[in-house]
Amino acid sequence: MMTKDQYIESLRKLHLNLWMFGEKIENPVDDPIIRPSLNSFAATYELAEDPQYQDLMTATSHISGKKVNRFTHMHQSTDDLIKKVKMQRLLGQKTAACFQRCVGMDAMNAVFSSTFEIDETCGTKYHENFVKFLSRVQDEDLAVDGAMTDVKGDRSLAPSKQADPDMFLHVVERTADGVYVTGAKAHQTGFVNSHEVLVMPTIAMREGDEDYAIAFAVPTDSDGITLIYGRQSCDTRKTEEHNDIDVGNKMYGGHEVLVIFDRVFVPNDRIFLNGEVQFAGMIVERFAGYHRQSYGGCKVGVGDVLIGATALAGDMAGSAKASHVKDKLIEMTHLNETLYCCGIACSSQGTKTKAGNYLIDLLLANVCKQNVTRFPYEIARLAQDLAGGAMVTLPSEADLRNPETRDYILKYFQGVNGVPTEDRMRVLRLIENMTMGTAAVGYLPESMHGAGSPQAQRIMIARQSNLEMKKDLAKKIARID
């Protein structure tokens, strides 16, 4: 396995075509806007080195029998699925941000089982291709981005009916050696910190969409790939001179990019789906299911930090003993642990796929994610309630450092005697960061839309709710023939 330092050095060797704030970024590793997200990703390597966390952070490869980072592992049991959620909670606690590596793990597990079943029906060799790719990922401990969401254009039209054919990523040329693809993938979390990208179709497809039913993996710095970095609220605070307090979370963060594929070549042995439209939906459903499970871990870990910060804010303001403060902290914990229950539940009810890896219970995973679209917002609301208005009216760190204003700030933002005002500012800025600043991207709208927007889960819940069986139950009790 790679160490944290080896991972960071490996990223320096990538030649990404990355753009941000109108400029090409030649050195993303040391860029102050990007670096916190790299630190979060690097934590997935760092914790795997620490004996205190290895039981969650590592697993035994079913291919090589060697110890691998769990983020590259194919889940071999329900126990593995549970440990995945626990690992994600742990990383959320350590970073208070999106650590980005889950999407690749979820994509790999979905494609692993799907390719097996595609080959069984179609006589293709996608599973063999994928296992070869996976073996390299495990052996070299590579970081993989999972890319699903197309930009989609007119949502009422199928991929092949769009006015602009590039609204869904598609094959533009087929050769004896492989295919060329064009299109774009939106909201790509962690792409800049990844060595490889695993691309999947974004929706179930039908006859006529064959060129759009494509899954493959390529290096992230392949010719023809362009990245445009997404803005985050308060992002430029990271470039200010006095930014130790005002950023809220100096060390960690997350990022998303728009990834453009302009005639990117994919060799045959890196293709995992190519025109078999009837299987696009299987990949989408399985990836979405795994990723909806993931949110029952990562967001809970981030929630743990927010609950802690809120409790600290109460301690520092002298309001910790007020009954409503205690009750709101209990409510935040109740909501947070409910999400964790869902993550653990869908894992414990997982089943073995034909390929041998384990899939979560899809109904429970969708219920999990549906709750995640709501509860973090309520937790954040309660955090802002208890933090008070100072969270958004605090002067800047530059004013704290200025001798003309420093004493006034220290005096008038003082809370409980003995607690340094600067510490109070740090906690309030952390709450601001997580509920309104750069980290809110990961904790709130990502909870809403990541792994599918709320309606996507409701469709899946409806599909799997088995309403007819429930009607029969009622009929029997009501004695209706």
Binding site: Y53, L56, M57
Partner: protein
């Protein structure tokens, strides 16, 4: 000298500081017991399992040890130290 090893639960949501618990046990038994991370194929007198909560069921059967002690809360530490000392004296 007693040969001891340690396994940590993974630490998703520990109720106490597992690293500090380990240091307390290790330092309290200095001169009586030697702790190291588990090595495959090595036999140990004691396996100390430090779980951050009561939720983890793992006993780490792959680690070959005569005695297994489990810590799930900080209050158990003094008793665990006492029990390991008893084994030291028996040996």
């Amino acid at each position: 000298m007693l040969r001891c090893t340690v396994k940590f639960c993974g630490g998703c949501n520990p109720r106490f500081d597992r690293g500090a618990a380990y240091e307390t046990v290790r330092s309290s038994l200095a001169g009586l017991a030697e702790f190291a991370l588990p090595q495959e194929g090595t036999h140990y007198d004691v396996l100390l399992i430090i779980r951050g909560c009561t939720g983890c069921p793992y006993l780490y059967e792959e680690v070959d040890a005569d005695h297994r002690f489990i810590i799930t809360e900080a209050e158990q530490i003094p008793e665990i130290i006492r029990n390991i000392k008893i084994i030291c004296h028996e040996n």
